[in-house]
């Protein structure tokens, strides 16, 4: 399950998608590359990787973090709470 928040959600045009990446997608960076190729909206949302944050099963992940067996992948901008 992919979850999108804030302007990533708006740019992609959905708050979630159920997708199964191919086995070649091993890390967070691989996943973002694979997602960006899905549609022009995905490409636009993920164009600036410095403005993208990813959580795997609700824990922050880095570009080189393996996706492993994560069931819930969330993609969002840097947080602005408080």
């Amino acid at each position: 399950m992919m979850l999108y928040f804030a302007w990533v959600r708006e740019a992609i045009g959905a708050d979630q998608e159920t997708l199964t990446p191919p086995p070649t997608v091993e890390t967070v960076a691989d996943l973002l590359d694979w997602l960006a190729a899905r549609s022009p909206n995905h490409a636009a949302a993920l164009a600036d990787r410095t403005a993208i944050r990813v959580a795997l099963d609700q824990d922050f992940a880095q570009a080189d973090t393996p996706i492993g067996t994560a069931q819930e992948v969330a993609i969002f901008p840097p947080i602005t709470g408080g």
Partner: protein
Amino acid sequence: MQVRVQPEPFDTAAELAALSANRSDVGAIASFTGLVRADDGLTALTLEHYPGMTERQLAAIAAKAEARWPVLAGTVIHRHGRLVPGDAIVLVAIASPHRAAAFEACSFLMDWLKTKAPFWKAEEGPWGTRWVRAKATDDQAAQRW
């Protein structure tokens, strides 16, 4: 420590009073309340969050504070939804035997919350609606701990 994520307003005075109710070991209560400011004609702020991860991250931050300072009781409340200038967004309140620990734990919680709790603010005003950009100074503030 109590952690709540809610759209409803909170009563700061009641929350502070609850921290020392029916006990005599609390010597200091420090708190921070964050409010919506009407900068540049801002008319409303809408906070989106990631249900599940928000509570999980706040609980993790609270556990870190409890491991580091003598926290007798504490409350963290973060609102979501649409808020207007003057509305309270966030409350962090810490009860401790002494003031230094209360001040420090409170400040630590706010700095970490700003970089770890998945909330996003959209601002309404003369410009329409726009997403707030993250500040590098927030990351720096969290790094000092």
